[in-house]
Every structure is written in C-alpha cells, then in structure tokens.
Symmetry: C2
Subunit: 247 residues, 2 copies
C-alpha cells in the first residue's frame, strides 16, 4: 500500500462575506487535485464567505447571558451569541458552555469563536449547513477538475477527559464519513463487533497537521486514502440521543 | 511547506508474549525511518509482547460482574476483567461500561478487547505503562537508526456525542503531545486563548488511515510533521479532574 499524503494548499485570499468560495477554492486547488483526493476546508473561510459573522456591537444580551458573563468575566454579548447558536445546553459550569448547536454538534461555545476574524467586536459562527456547503464546494470542483473529489469541512473541538482540541469533520460531501468493519473478520477469524471508524474525523485531524493554527492555511489535500465514495454527510457522525450516555 | 506523509510499515511477524518488540520494530522500520519521523505503533502488538493477554477460562467473575453480564448478554468473565482494569466507573448503562483505567484513560471497557487476539477465550488489555513502552521502543530505534525519532502508541477510542471510534495516543515518547498556541497571535492580531492542540492524537488518527482495522498493519511512519521534540507523555493528554465537566 502506498502512503497517504497530506498537502497544504495556499493561495486563498482573505475571504469576505459574499465571496464565491467554491470558485476561489477551485482556483487555488484545481491544479493540485487529482481523482480520489479529499479536500479538507477549515470552516472559518466557509463561515466568512457565507456571512456568518456577528458584530457584537449589535447584540443585546439577555439577563441570563449577562449574569453568566459577569460571574465568569466573559463578554455578555458573546455569551448571548453562544446561547442563540445553541438548541440545548449540555453543561454550563466553571465558565464553560458546552452546548448542542442547531445542527446537532456538541462543542464548546456552540462553535462561536473570535480567532482568525478581522475586526474587533466580531465573532464567527459555524456555517448554517456545513454539509450543504461541502456539497457546493464539491460541485464546483467537479466541474473544474472533472474528477471525483470528496470534501470535508473541519473545525477543532475539545472533548471530555482529554486535554487539547482536535480537528473533526462538521461538513462532508462525496464520501461515507464512517468506515464500518462490523461483521468483517480480523486475521484470527474474530468477527469485529464495535469497529465503526469515524474516518472523516481522522481525515480532518490529519489535515490539521499541515494547516496549523496561526499560519493561515485553510485547505489541505488528503491523497491515496481509499475512502468509500458516494453520498455521505457529517450529520451521520452525530450520535443518536438514545445511545448517548453523556447528554 | 512540504506535505506530511503517512507510510504503512509491514514486516512485523505475529507477536507473542516475551518477544523483544523494540528489536522487531527496529528491524521492520529501521531502514524506513529518518530523523524527525514519528513512528506510530498500534497498542495491540505492545500488549501482546508484554503478555497483557488474559485467558478468560482462568477468570472467576464477581457477583457484580455476573449480574451486569446476565442483564446485558455479556460474557461475565470479560466484564470481570473490565472491572479489574478500571479504577472508576464513569457510566454503566445500556450494556456499556465507560470507565477510567488505572492509567487514567477514559474509554469503553477499560480498553479490554477481544479482536486481533489469537485463540478463543482470550482478551487483550492495554499496556501496563504505555509511556514507558513508547520510551523503550524509542531507545531501541535511537541506537539502531541513530537519529531522533518520536514514538506514539495508539488505540481507537469512542467518544461522546459522535458516532464511530478514532485513533488516539495512549503512549508517547520524544515529543510534546500538545502544541500550545496560547498567547500567539492570529493573522489579525487576535491573541489565541483556547488553542492547545492535541497533536499526538491527530498523529495517531492520521496513522489509522494506513493501518486499517483488519489489514494487520501495526506500524506507520508520520514524516515531515514539525513536532516539538523533547520529553512528553500521553499522561499529559489526561484532563485534570477539576477541569472535567463529564466525570
């Protein structure tokens, strides 16, 4: 088996609301991409192009947001935005808000983030529908590259029990985000019972290794990974509430 | 920046208790490794070499293990082993046991697993001290390859809220498993506040892309990733109980 390559892609200019991101991406990555590649796109450029930025000066915090903000030395306007982006609070303790977003992702601050955003008093939200955003990028690439490319939109989430954040997939197009080995046999003839791998999350994590956090590389190509093409969505990565022991 | 490469390494024979794994690994990977590489080793070969296998026919389940097993159609002897490998139960519900191992990892079944183990009625435990195991492999490689190599021992863990398992680091030697960007500025001059990346977990996840689950590739080389060399341990990835909202 050949190795998997993770290639950084530069050449995306500062993205502004209303920009045609799929076209910008096609231009930057079009000559690099080959059939079978996966393109990983950091969500921030997607959110910016889609205008998912909030000017905090225009936000009126609720009494609930104000009280939490005062207690924990937060910006009440930013807390308000986090609450608006949440459909359910999972934990609200020690100054942290872990909530479920309207898409169903569980993460800190509903994905609302002030880093890598131009201008003061401005925060960035997650894309409204990251699977749809991934599909649009994939369509633009298909017409330009003329080959089969999968797209993963990534963000970095914390997790319980372990320090640090890691990149995960919040939007997927053109591939199954899960690789299901259940029923297959290991080399000893043992039927694998619990082996569904979240490969889209592993691909997003691999891409982070070339993206960095301050270097402003918003795209990475993952090459030679034999993913299962076809329809697939990051929504498939969300655990059924009935199976979740950590609601 | 050059891309990151993930290379599968084959040529490890069936590993048996008492085998000199660092020597086997040096032989298999010695000619491939270069200075600055990270070698990812799946924990199962480490556990096997260290004799961390349990013959279930020799396990006498406790009354507690028996009751849980009957209720959820499990093997009471395997439940007993899971309890013995646990220092604390985090959740025990719907037939699942999520526990904290004696090392401090929180995962399903305390990492006890029947897949990829030869012989019936046999299960595999996590290595007793995966950081020490990683350090031993690193020493063997240093004397053979004569260059600086980091080592990551991996296992695949589930996580709350998201479907599927992903590879994480349970043993580390020769690198800092966390990349701390706090205090650095993004391209807009915003000081990053929450940006500590669990890069050892991302490296383990990337390696899984060439290891597969049934193909029996126990080693992968991660090349061209500019990690921070020096002392570092997977223990550094464990969250302080006082900061953990999901105990």
């Amino acid at each position: 088996m050949k190795g998997v390559e993770i290639l950084p892609v530069e050449g995306i200019p500062e993205v502004r609301p209303g920009d045609d991101l799929p076209a910008l991406i096609s231009r930057a990555a079009g000559d690099i991409l080959r059939a079978g590649d996966i393109l990983v796109v950091t969500h921030k450029v997607v959110s910016k192009a889609e205008g998912r930025l909030v000017d905090l000066r225009e936000v009126e915090p609720s009494a609930f947001a104000k009280r939490f903000a005062v207690e924990h030395e937060k910006d009440p306007r930013q807390v308000e935005v986090v609450l608006r982006e949440s459909r359910r609070i999972v934990r609200m303790d020690r100054g942290l808000i872990i909530s479920e977003t309207h898409h169903g992702f569980v993460c800190a601050n509903a994905g609302v983030d002030a880093s890598n955003v131009p201008g003061e008093d401005r925060v960035c939200l997650l894309p409204a529908d990251p699977d749809a955003s991934a599909a649009k990028i994939r369509e633009a690439l298909a017409s330009r590259v003329g080959e089969d490319i999968a797209v993963v939109i990534s963000d970095s989430f914390g997790r319980p029990w372990r320090e640090g954040i890691t990149n995960v997939a919040i939007g997927v197009a053109g591939m199954n985000p899960l690789a299901d080995y259940r029923g297959e046999e290991d080399p000893y003839g043992y039927q694998l019972a619990a082996s569904v791998l979240a490969v889209a999350d592993e691909i997003a994590a691999a891409a982070e290794l070339v993206m960095g956090k301050t270097s402003g590389v918003p795209l990475a190509v993952v090459r030679n990974y034999p993913y299962k093409p076809g329809p697939g969505f990051a929504q498939d990565l969300l655990m059924e509430p009935s199976r979740d022991l950590f609601r």
